[in-house]
Amino acid sequence: MCLAVPMQIIRLDGFSARCAARGVEREVSLFMLQDEGVVPGDFVLVHVGYAIQKISREDAEATWELFDQILAAGDADA
C-alpha cells in the first residue's frame, strides 16, 4: 500500500490522467501535480491513485525492473 509505482501518462482529462506501467493502465489523479505542467509522455510516481511527483524515464525504468524482481519472488513464495 505504501509503494509508489512509476507510470507514464497516456492522455489527460482535466486533473485525471490515463497512465500505463508495463502494459497495465489506470486512471490517476494529477490533483497534487496541478501546478507542475505535466503532459502526456511524462513519467510520474503514483501512490494510491494519486501522482505525487514527476520523475525521469530512467528512474521509472529502474523501479519497474525492481518490481519485476519483487513480483517474481512473491510468486515463488505464494
Binding site: 505504501c2 489523479s29 497534487m32 511527483q53 528512474d59 523501479t63 525492481l66 524482481q69
Partner: protein, 366 residues
C-alpha cells in the same frame, strides 16, 4: 544492477564500525532490502534494522474496532485499504475480530486501492453513509487530503487514523534503549513532505541520516553515506534520492494536508500515544468526521483495548528492539496464511516481508 555493485564495492572498502545499526522506517525500503538480499551481501558488521515503517501495524486497535462496529451496527459501508481487512482486534474467539470477519457476517466492507474509490462508492450509495477508514503515513494521507480538497459527497465520512513518521523516530532517539546509530529516511515520505523534515536526526541527535529511494543502488548509496558520515563524524542530512525528493517536497500536497488536517497526539498500537504524530480532521470538515457523526463504539472498557494481539511481539518489532524472527511465535503459528499480529498481515509489516523473503526461525537473516 551494476550501479548497486558499485556501491557495494565502495561500502566494502570502508573501515566499517563493528555492529553499526542502520534503521529504515519504510516497508518499501525493507522489502527492497530483503528481496535483494542486501543483508547477506553487505559486510556482517552492518546491521540493517527495520523500524516503524508500517502504518497498518501501528493503526490503533480501537480505531479498527470502531470501523468493525460501524460496518456491523452503524449501517455504513466501510471502505479501507485491503491490508486492513485481516488485522485482528482483541476480542474473544467467538466475536467478530476483523473487518474481513465483519464482511463475512454481512457488513458492507469494501477493500480499496485509492481514496478516490471511496468517493465513487459514496456517489453510487444513494445517500447511504460511506466511511473511508483512512490509515497511512504522509504519502497516503496527502491523497486523502487531496480528495477532501476536491470536495466530498455529503454521505462520505472519514475515520482518520493517519500518522506521521518522523515523531516515531524521535521517540526512538529519545528512548533510553536507543536501537539505531544511523537512519535511512523514507524516500516517498520525503517526496511529499520535503527532505528538511529529517534534518533533526543530524542536528539534534548528531546521527547520520540519508534519504533513499527504492532500488538496491539507491539504498546502498544511502547506507554508504551514513557510514561515511559516521566515520568522519560529520552527521548531516544527505538526500540520496534527489530524482524524486525536491526541496520543500510537493508543495501542493503539503497545502492539502495543512488545509484538511490538524496534527495532534495519537495512539500507536502497542506503543501508546506519541506527541504531534496523528492527523485529525480540521473543524471545517466536521460534517464529514466519522468520529463526530457516529457513536463512539469503543466507549466502555473492553479488555486489552489498544494492545497488540496476545502473544504477539509486533510492538517490539516495530520499534526495532527485536528482529521479526526473534518473536517466539514467528512461523509457528504466525505466518501470512494465519497471521497472529499485524506485522504478518500487512505487505509492509517486517514479519511478512521477512517471511516472504524466506527467513525462517534460526536461519540466517535475509
Amino acid at each position: 544492477m551494476s550501479d548497486a555493485r558499485l556501491w557495494l564495492e565502495r561500502i566494502r572498502e570502508l573501515p566499517i564500525p563493528d555492529g553499526i545499526r542502520i534503521m529504515n522506517v519504510c516497508g518499501g525500503h525493507e522489502r527492497s532490502i530483503s528481496m535483494a538480499g542486501l543483508r547477506t551481501a553487505l559486510p556482517p558488521a552492518i546491521r540493517l534494522i527495520p523500524g516503524p515503517g508500517c502504518p497498518v501495524c501501528i493503526c490503533p486497535e480501537e480505531d479498527i474496532y470502531q470501523a468493525i462496529r460501524l460496518g456491523l451496527e452503524g449501517d455504513a459501508v466501510v471502505a479501507t485499504f485491503g491490508d486492513m481487512l485481516r488485522v485482528p482486534v482483541n476480542l474473544g474467539r467467538q466475536a467478530v475480530r476483523s473487518l474481513e470477519q465483519a464482511k463475512a457476517a454481512g457488513a458492507d466492507i469494501r477493500p480499496i486501492a485509492s481514496p478516490i474509490e471511496a468517493r465513487i462508492i459514496a456517489e453510487k450509495a444513494a445517500g447511504k453513509p460511506v466511511v473511508l477508514f483512512a490509515v497511512g503515513f504522509e504519502t497516503t494521507m496527502a491523497p486523502v487530503a487531496a480528495l477532501m480538497a476536491e470536495g466530498l459527497p455529503d454521505n462520505l465520512y472519514i475515520l482518520c487514523s493517519g500518522r506521521l513518521t518522523w515523531p516515531a523516530v524521535r521517540l526512538l532517539l529519545d528512548s533510553d534503549e536507543c536501537v539505531l546509530d544511523a537512519l535511512v529516511a523514507p524516500g516517498h515520505v520525503a517526496t511529499v513532505m520535503g527532505p528538511e523534515e529529517w534534518g533533526f536526526v543530524a542536528d539534534d541527535y548528531r546521527l547520520p541520516v540519508a534519504i533513499a529511494g527504492f532500488t538496491p543502488a539507491s539504498l546502498l548509496r544511502a547506507i554508504h553515506s551514513t557510514i561515511v558520515q559516521w566515520l568522519e563524524e560529520t552527521p548531516r542530512l544527505d538526500n540520496c534520492y534527489p530524482e524524486a525528493v525536491k526541496p520543500g517536497g510537493n508543495p501542493k500536497a503539503r497545502e492539502f494536508l495543512n488545509r484538511s488536517f490538524d496534527v495532534t497526539a495519537g495512539n500507536w498500537r502497542g506503543i501508546g500515544p506519541i506527541a504531534a504524530s496523528a492527523y485529525a480532521l480540521k473543524p471545517e470538515f466536521a460534517a464529514h468526521d466519522a468520529r463526530l457523526h457516529f457513536p463512539d463504539y469503543d466507549a466502555g472498557d473492553r479488555r486489552h483495548a489498544g494492545e497488540m494481539p496476545a502473544g504477539c511481539d509486533c510492538a517490539r518489532v516495530v520499534l526495532g528492539r527485536i528482529q521479526p524472527d526473534e518473536c517466539r511465535i514467528y512461523g509457528k503459528p504466525c505466518t501470512p496464511r494465519s497471521p497472529v499480529g499485524p506485522c504478518m498481515v500487512s505487505d509492509e509489516g517486517a514479519c511478512r516481508i521477512w517471511w516472504a523473503a524466506g527467513v525462517r526461525k534460526d536461519s540466517a537473516a535475509a
